[in-house]
């Protein structure tokens, strides 16, 4: 079935985020921008990494694509489209029958993400029954099959267990099985390995990549960890203070980052530190939403910032040879990358 659908899927089935802005209503009627003018496009069969620190707006972007923003937070401009369907836009509700079926999500904390009072098989089966109108028995069988596909031993028996009998890694496999149940065109994984033991992280990432590859899905991998992106994604975008600052193919960005923030993130990752040197922390902290500095938001922490181009007016995104960057000094900087 997946072969048929993937053959039918043209470029028109890509996930298209265009000019997306998200804001929170704060006390006193103020609105605080959380995400500003974010655009990217993920084709079927492509794995795309969205990278940023906590509070950069990367998770918010992912939640908006599923129409899962919390109360008081809303899309103020732009759109998220899947094929011809608009999933999110200002004042738009998620169309029925899309979420969970054509676009699915795996969350960060598998310990909290499963209903503790429901057998895991049932939690998978209910997606099938709701979206595909499967019968009880057929859905239960398919749920067990899915558990087997994500690498759970004795899936038919385990399907009847409650979540508390599973380890963190196993629960994340269950979450993935649940997300894949309806063969979605797009899978969003929000920090899928952050809450897991290091040894388990690689297994889960392998599973995600394998599933994405086998099923020809578009994968949006949201993470703070460039190391996670390196081994899994084709392209990546870096977010800072609610905006994209750089976007491009993973290899090229790692080899030669064009935004100082990307370069700083690469240098700060422990696995990228030169042998014998400590990873370089980025000075300062991420500005809080609503307190973004004028000009380049990264300016105050940037080693390359100059008065003038960097601290006046918004800095525009520029595009050249398939890469985008939002840095006034990008053309003149030659930033160090890391070998992958």
């Amino acid at each position: 079935m997946s072969a048929v659908t993937s053959a039918a899927m043209s470029d028109a089935m890509s996930l298209d985020v265009r000019g997306l802005s998200i804001a929170a209503r704060a006390a006193g009627g103020r609105t605080v921008p959380l995400v500003t003018d974010v655009s990217f496009r993920i084709a079927p069969g492509e794995a795309f990494g969205l990278v940023g620190e906590s509070g950069s707006g990367k998770s918010m972007t992912a939640l908006a694509a599923l129409g899962l923003l919390r109360r008081g937070v809303a899309v103020t401009a732009g759109s998220v489209r899947l094929g011809g369907t608009e999933l999110a836009g200002p004042g738009r509700a998620m169309p029925a029958g899309v979420r969970g079926r054509r676009i699915a999500m795996v969350f960060q904390d598998p310990m909290a993400g499963l209903n503790p009072a429901m057998r895991v098989g049932e939690q998978i089966a209910e997606v099938l029954r709701h979206h595909l109108r499967m019968g009880r028995a057929a859905a239960a069988r398919r749920a067990a099959d899915l558990l087997g596909e994500v690498g759970i031993e004795a899936p038919a028996r385990r399907a009847r267990d409650y979540p508390h009998t599973f380890s963190g890694g196993m629960r994340q496999r269950v979450m993935i099985a649940m997300a894949l149940a309806c063969e979605p065109a797009v899978l969003i994984a929000d920090e899928p390995t952050t809450a897991l033991d290091v040894t388990v992280q690689a297994q889960i990432l392998d599973l995600l990549v394998r599933m994405q590859d086998e099923r020809g899905m578009a994968l949006l991998l949201v993470t703070h960890d460039l190391g996670v992106v390196a081994g899994t994604c084709h392209r990546l975008a870096v977010m800072y203070a609610g905006r994209l600052v750089e976007e491009g193919p993973v290899g090229e960005v790692f080899d030669a980052p064009r935004h100082p923030y990307t370069a700083a993130l690469l240098a700060a990752a422990p696995e990228n530190a030169m042998r014998g040197t400590a990873p370089k922390a980025i000075p300062g902290t991420v500005p809080a939403p609503g307190a973004y500095p004028p000009g380049c938001a990264f300016g105050p922490r940037c080693a390359h910032a100059r008065p003038g181009p960097c601290d006046t007016g918004p800095v525009a995104m520029t595009e050249s040879d398939g890469r985008r960057v939002r840095c006034a000094r990008a053309p003149e900087l030659a930033l160090p990358g890391v070998p992958r």
Binding site: L66, L68, A96, G97, V98, R99, G100, R101, A104, M105, F107, D109, A112, G113, L114, N115, P116, A117, M118, E126, V127, H130, H131, Y162, P163, H164, T165, M175, M178, A179
Partner: protein, 313 residues
């Protein structure tokens, strides 16, 4: 599992023991010497001593308690001071009425609290939530017997829909039984619905904020399904707990409500006993009511096993 229930059962036994001591100790509160009371004002010292020996009052308190308790365990709670009927028989005749009322009231409480608690949890702080919390605040401040009188005024006198007072056993037919229980059950159920409504609102609002509810939403399930299948079940533990705890409240309230509606249960018995100062009967009522409460709490413990797999067990 067995250890868990063993522990709960032991706890219940300890509570029951302390309650029985308190109940028996009620006799000590009666001012004056009961022997003089019974033998009469003008009895001689010897006569009083004889009464005292007959009642066993010359023996120390623990001994008397043990006698009383062993008899009580065999189902012998003594006889009524008023008409010498065995207390157990008096209680057995009236307990079904009170239990019927309490169960019906509990059903009313669930029927009220389940929708109200759920509705207010959907949008905490919203208009509906605030309206419901105002209604519960009113309900908790309303004397139950007064509400009962108002219901009689409206639904039995002004619009004669239900009988104002009286009781028909189930053997007289379900219709008559239910009609006579309706107003008392509503009276008692309204008050008993308040805490469950508040608990459910709080618990459900918390649950609706959890990651697994977000997962359920990400699965594209209908909001109704999410609340019904995922949220309510997980909010049920505190809800069921508080419903169980309401049992005591219900039985206490039943005393007054039975009086208003003339139901021949433990409540009206208590009211009659008050004027007769019939202590053995009162002790029996206290014990019977407490036994029901303890049984309800054990039932709640049993329910946990089903509601929260992986915890309590």
């Amino acid at each position: 599992m067995i250890a868990y229930f063993g522990k709960r059962l032991l706890g219940a036994a300890v509570v029951l023991f302390v309650v029985s001591v308190i109940t028996f100790g009620l006799a000590l509160l009666i001012p004056g010497d009961p022997a003089i009371h019974i033998a009469g004002e003008h009895a001689t010292r010897e006569e009083i001593a004889a009464v005292r020996a007959e009642l066993g009052l010359d023996r120390p308190f623990p001994v008397r308690y043990l006698d009383w308790a062993t008899a009580a365990i065999r189902g012998d709670l003594g006889t009524s001071l008023y008409n010498s009927e065995p207390v157990t028989e008096i209680l057995a005749a009236r307990l079904p009425v009170t239990l019927s009322l309490a169960l019906a009231a509990m059903a009313v409480a669930v029927l009220i609290s389940l929708p109200l608690g759920t509705l207010s949890a959907l949008r905490p702080g919203g208009v509906l939530d605030r309206a419901i919390s105002a209604v519960t605040a009113l309900a908790v401040a309303t004397p139950s017997f007064w509400l009962g009188l108002l219901l009689i005024l409206v639904f039995a006198i002004t619009f004669p829909v239900f009988p104002a007072t009286g009781y028909r056993p189930l053997s007289d037919g379900l219709g008559a039984y239910a009609a006579h229980l309706a107003l008392p059950a509503i009276t008692l159920g309204v008050a008993a619905a308040v805490e469950p409504t508040r608990q459910l609102r709080a618990a459900l609002a918390d649950v609706l904020d959890t990651d697994y509810i977000r997962t359920a939403r990400a699965k594209g399930l209908l909001p109704v399904t999410i609340v019904r299948k995922h949220a309510i079940r997980n909010a049920a533990v505190p809800y069921v707990t508080v419903i169980g705890l309401e049992t005591g409240q219900l039985l206490g309230g039943a005393v007054v409500v039975e009086t208003v509606f003339g139901l021949p249960g433990l409540g009206t018995l208590a009211e009659i006993t008050v004027t007769r100062q019939d202590l053995p009967v009162l002790q029996g009522i206290v014990l019977a009511a407490t036994l029901v409460v303890i049984a309800a709490n054990l039932a709640v413990d049993l329910a946990y096993r089903w509601l929260a797999p992986g915890e309590a067990g």
